[in-house]
């Protein structure tokens, strides 16, 4: 029997928000409003996506609408990324390119190899997984790369001064930024099942699916997320590197705080 909470059940779950708000007040964390706002936003956003998904998944809705929804998701994710990492040059077009590449690559593998059947029911949530799970890593790799090139400006220019290309001179900084962005996802993938049960699996099991089937779906999802995070971070890292240097191998990224850094 599938476990689906009724309206009363949802209200009861809302009690947990009240607990959190109460704790915040007792500890003087000043997070009460933020907690309520977040809970309210989640409610509205999820209700809205429920309606949209209902429309998209209806029998007579053409697949084109699902693809249009994927395009909207990619655009929204790119916009969110650019707001969270405004200091990264060209981040909006880069993020657009990164999420698009990631969606194309991962969905081509999933649907092309027949891991899942291509329907509105698989397309929209899988594309959402790809984009949503790549967002944090995409923001992180952009910020870390700009920070690294700025903080390690002397080292990068010393490499350029030895006659290295901008690609060679930036390589250690790019490597560190990509590693930093990928490690959380790698760690999550390693800990899965032992430390926590991921969302897709929890959802399937709560909905009454056979645990073995839930495991298979979850594995496909985790590999999908790992692949998409790797794709987006690589695209953003290469793009930022191109923008930070001139074609004649000069570091042209503006210094952020030259007076405090250089004596």
């Amino acid at each position: 029997m599938a476990a689906e909470p009724g309206l009363l059940g949802l209200l009861a779950a809302g009690v947990l928000i009240a607990v959190a708000v109460g704790l915040s007040a007792a500890q003087h964390l000043g997070l009460g409003r933020a907690l309520l706002w977040a809970a309210a936003r989640a409610l509205v956003q999820l209700a809205a996506i429920g309606v949209v998904l209902g429309l998209l998944l209806a029998e007579d809705t053409p697949m084109a609408w699902s693809w249009a929804w994927v395009v909207v998701m990619v655009g929204f994710a790119a916009w969110t990324t650019s707001r969270r990492a405004p200091e990264v040059p060209g981040i909006l077009p880069l993020a657009l390119a990164a999420y698009s590449a990631s969606v194309v690559v991962t969905l081509a593998v999933l649907f092309g190899l027949g891991v899942f059947e291509l329907t509105a029911r698989t397309l929209v949530p899988l594309a959402g997984l790809v984009v949503g799970n790549s967002l944090a890593a995409t923001v992180l790799v952009g910020r870390r790369l700009v920070e690294g090139l700025d903080e390690r400006r002397d080292e990068v220019e010393a490499r350029l001064a030895l006659g290295m290309t901008s690609e060679q001179a930036a390589a250690p900084v790019v490597r560190d930024a990509v590693r930093t962005a990928l490690i959380p996802q790698v760690e999550t993938t390693k800990a899965v099942g032992i430390v926590f049960l991921p969302g897709a699996m929890v959802g399937l099991i709560l909905a009454g699916a056979d645990p073995a089937a839930a495991v298979k779906v979850q594995l496909a999802v985790m590999y999908l997320v790992l692949g998409s995070v790797a794709t987006t971070t690589a695209v953003v890292a290469l793009g930022v590197r191109r923008l930070a240097f001139s074609p004649d191998h000069r570091l042209v990224l503006p210094a952020r705080a030259p007076d405090s850094r250089r004596r």
Partner: protein, 207 residues
């Protein structure tokens, strides 16, 4: 023919004029010291010489050739640079020299010898060396590309007195051995110790 020549060079940065129609000649032999008040654009001149920076107007020449027409990577291998603060790369001294192309121990040891470090330093962690040793290793690394000329950007400002003298003697020796050097400093006593030729930015600016 001068080793470096700047003709009517103007550089602006963030709206401010850093170099204003500057003409400057660096002789093809000996050690030329470039002085000038803080903010007068001394470091900017050095960075123009190996094209880490390009001017907004004017021409920079290396041995008579417009640097804008040269391959930047090839130019930088011909013009070595020592920065204000040591810039050791992660890894050993051997790794640092290999990054500049000195990838066999015999060659690396010869480069270390040229900067008065023995080959025992090869396996040492570059970032664990003293400031003076790091700066000498950076000089050796710059020499690894076989440069014809050398740029030194206040290369001793982070060093103590003894390390400063050692680096001065090493670079003066290179200049005497036929590598023209352009050395930026604001230390008048250092000018007296090392200069074969003097150039001052205060004089050249503001036409």
């Amino acid at each position: 023919m001068p080793v470096f020549q700047l003709r009517d060079v103007t550089v602006r940065r963030a709206g401010a004029v850093v170099l204003d129609h500057l003409d400057l000649e660096v002789p093809a032999e000996g050690l030329t010291v470039l002085t000038g008040p803080s903010g007068s654009g001394k470091s900017t001149v050095l960075r123009l010489c190996n094209r880490l920076l390009v001017p907004d107007a004017g021409v920079v020449e290396f041995r008579g050739a417009d640097v804008a027409q040269l391959d930047p990577c090839a130019l930088r291998r011909r013009v070595g640079m020592v920065f204000q603060r040591p810039t050791p790369f992660a890894g050993s001294v051997r790794d640092n020299l290999a990054a500049a192309g000195a990838d066999d121990d015999a060659r690396a040891a010869a480069l270390l010898d040229a900067v008065a470090l023995d080959e025992g330093f090869l396996g040492r962690d570059a970032r664990e060396l003293s400031g003076g040793e790091q700066q000498r290793m950076c000089l050796a690394r710059a020499l690894a590309t076989g440069p014809e000329a050398l740029l030194v950007d206040e290369g001793t400002s982070a060093l103590d007195r003894e390390a400063t003298r050692t680096l001065e003697e090493l670079v003066a020796g290179l200049a005497a051995a036929g590598h023209p050097v352009l050395w930026v400093t604001h230390d008048e006593a250092q000018v007296d110790r090392i200069a074969d030729h003097r150039r001052s930015l205060g004089r050249a600016r503001g036409r």
